[in-house]
Amino acid sequence: MSELETFRAEARAWLEENCPAEMRTPAKGDEDVCWGGRNFVFQSEAQKLWLERCVAKGYTVPDWPKAYGGAGLSPQETKVLRQEMAKLGCRSPLNSFGIWMLGPALLKFGTEEQKVHYMGQIARGEIRWCQGYSEPGSGSDLVSMQTFGEDKGDHWVVNGQKIWTSYADKADWIFCLVRTDKTNKYQGISFLLFDMETPGVSTKPIKLISGNSPFCETFFDNVVVPKHQIVGEVNRGWDVAKYLLGHEREMISGMGGDGGVTSIGAAMKATLSQEPVLRAQMALFDVDNLTFRAHGERFMDEWKTGKAHPAYSNLMKYVGTELNKKRNELVMSIGGSQALEWESERSNGGSKARNWLRTKANSIEGGTSEVMLNVVSKRILEMPGA
């Protein structure tokens, strides 16, 4: 048996023994997901146990180094572990912006002390993070952001406003882009970390078209941030921000799939057999869905071995999010009038309609589809022009 197959057998045995039965069923909604953090309330004993066991084994962040709370697995081993988790239907023990976004940026730009401290907290699910990038006047054109940090010697005093800050009202800490030099557009931004309980930080939830309020306006009124809470160098935060965006896009593109290659068509057979044009649309969607799965697999294999173009995650984000929107349009069409119900128990509280509306944000958050196409065209295809 090859080393990788030995690892597969070990991982499988560990999962069989340690993943509670309740954690091998699909999460029903966002409230079922473990986000960790200071104020997180576990939904069940099983959820808590699953997190604790994974933390002890380093499996909340399997590919991070052991010193920072991971299991130190190679890309191949990580892939095998995920395959085995998928086979058993294991839920993700911990979801977090810390794992998907901040961690990789710290690994590249953080000091040793920061890595041990912040990455360790993330791996253990102790601190929940939110992302302070967008501002009312700065969305796609993020680098125009204005939130300002005034240099006061050993600290900055931050004033300004962020918007669309996902889960800002639930997060413990924020990673935030703050302008520290008004005279230099790109090299005048610093990447700061601070506690959301710092005096002067306030949030105001925004209600989405789906009826939910997962994100906020975030205000900073003379917020004091110590100098050591910077990632990377002063005024070089844009490099960190961009690197992190690459990981964010990679993460969002993954949401384009349904976690597997199973078609939603089979469950809808009764309707589809009566609607030949809709069935044909579904069939073409399934072709694209299988394609995206294979594309994602190939991208991950190339990304992890350093063969992928550094801007490739922008392409995956575009393809994956457009696909997810298409899936939800089909779900609505196939669901017919029942999918329109917004509150009834029959409709599971309008879950289809709400999911459909939520997915419209996929091609906006983390960089819009149009911006992704701009990046692909310029950086990968090397098209001319500004």
């Binding site: 191949q76 078609s263 069935r279 069939a283 072709v287 594309h295 697999e297 196409l373």
Partner: protein
């Protein structure tokens, strides 16, 4: 399996890329087209394919071949596609070889040496209507003497008139629409009662309309089992489909980069047209579609090579996706070239023609999307 090519596969790709670019580039295709070549390909080039070891890529090592898989065959096909290199590779070295691998030793010994030497060409005689409907085969093989007597007609037999042998699917039992009761036969080109009419296609390949008028074959002409031909046929078709998909990745990629180059050089409104966002977004979208097609084709090839249960589903999806993506590439290509894209002098139109033929070969994107739906349970 990792979805990246191994070092050996990368080496094969470099070899195939250099070979096609120097020995069979688009100018080679034009030369044979313009002289109205009755075969639609060069026998000399087919011999060179053999010298390179390409023709026996799927033939088992025990039979003197390279014993490689669909990934390797696909690597060669992609370069064929990129250069529009005309050859019997897809029909003979991919589809026919996959069928003959399931034949007995005498049959393999009869045909493999010629394929390995680049001397033999084999035509695939499956289609009976204008669209791909393999289960609808009605051509009849009646028991007669020590063998069978074949009666019926076939069409879209690519390189049929240039073939030494045709693999003919006929019904030994059952009725059209059933998958049981089919049998595959190796029919010699000189068999009495066999006649062919050559038809030049839009991509300047030559396909045959075949008449079988009581063609007598011996029992040992059967490939695989009598009445159990569906198993052999499916393998042959899937190899041909994934192969055509790989060739379309080559055609689509070739057309795409030709178009990108044009966008970077053509000036209008005092700017290179590649600066216009309307074109940039379409170029980037096209790139994503081609990359997706490349990925699912690789996935389908590797599942076939593993003998995976899901291979059939992925082959169908791969043929569909490669067809849709390649078709988008040639359409965008002609459009973005403007007026000169419509001229015979520019190559982009040749890619458009090749795409059409390959899309139709062994089932188009709609046929395969329908199969994906059926296999997915709706």
């Amino acid at each position: 399996m990792a979805m990246t090519l191994t070092d050996d596969q990368n080496m094969l790709r470099d070899t195939a890329r250099d070979f096609m670019a120097s020995e069979a580039p688009v100018t080679h295709f034009r030369k044979f087209r313009d002289m109205g070549c009755k075969d639609g390909f060069s026998h000399g080039l087919w011999k060179q394919f053999a010298e390179m070891g390409f023709t026996g890529i799927l033939i088992p090592e025990a039979d003197g071949g390279m014993g490689m898989g669909q990934i390797e065959a696909g690597i060669v096909l992609e370069e064929i596609g990129r250069n529009l290199s005309p050859s019997p590779f897809l029909t003979t070295s991919v589809a026919a070889v996959e069928a003959l691998k399931l034949a007995d030793k005498a049959m393999r010994d009869r045909w493999f040496p010629g394929i390995l030497a680049g001397e033999t060409v084999i035509g695939i005689a499956i289609e009976e209507g204008v669209k791909h409907r393999p289960e609808k085969i009605a051509c009849v093989a009646e028991r007669s003497g020590n063998g069978f007597k074949l009666t019926g007609q076939k069409q879209f037999v690519v390189q049929g008139v240039s073939s030494d042998m045709l693999i003919v699917a006929a019904r030994t039992a059952g009725v059209a629409g059933e998958t049981d009761g089919l049998t595959l036969f190796a029919v010699d080109k000189d068999a009495a009662g066999l006649s062919m009419e050559a038809a030049r296609l839009v991509d300047s390949a030559v396909a045959a309309h075949v008449k079988l008028d009581g063609v007598q074959v011996d029992a040992d002409a059967v490939i695989g089992e009598v009445d159990g031909g569906w198993a052999v046929l499916s393998k042959m078709l899937d190899a041909g489909r994934v192969g055509a998909a790989a060739e379309m990745v080559g055609v689509g990629t070739g057309a795409m980069y030709m178009t990108f180059e044009y966008l970077k050089t053509r000036k209008q409104f005092d700017r290179v047209i590649g600066e216009f966002q309307a074109l940039q977004h379409r170029a980037a979208h096209l790139y994503g579609e081609m990359e997706g097609a490349r990925s699912i084709v690789l996935k389908a090839q590797s599942l076939m090579d593993e003998g995976h249960a899901k291979a059939e589903l992925y082959v169908a999806a791969a043929k569909a996706k490669a067809g849709l993506a390649c078709n988008l590439s040639v359409r965008e290509g002609v459009q973005m070239h403007g007026g000169i894209g419509m001229t015979d002098e520019y190559d982009i139109g040749l890619y458009m023609k090749r795409d059409r033929s390959l899309n139709e070969f062994f089932g188009d994107a709609y046929y395969h999307a329908d199969r994906v739906a059926t296999m997915n349970g709706y």
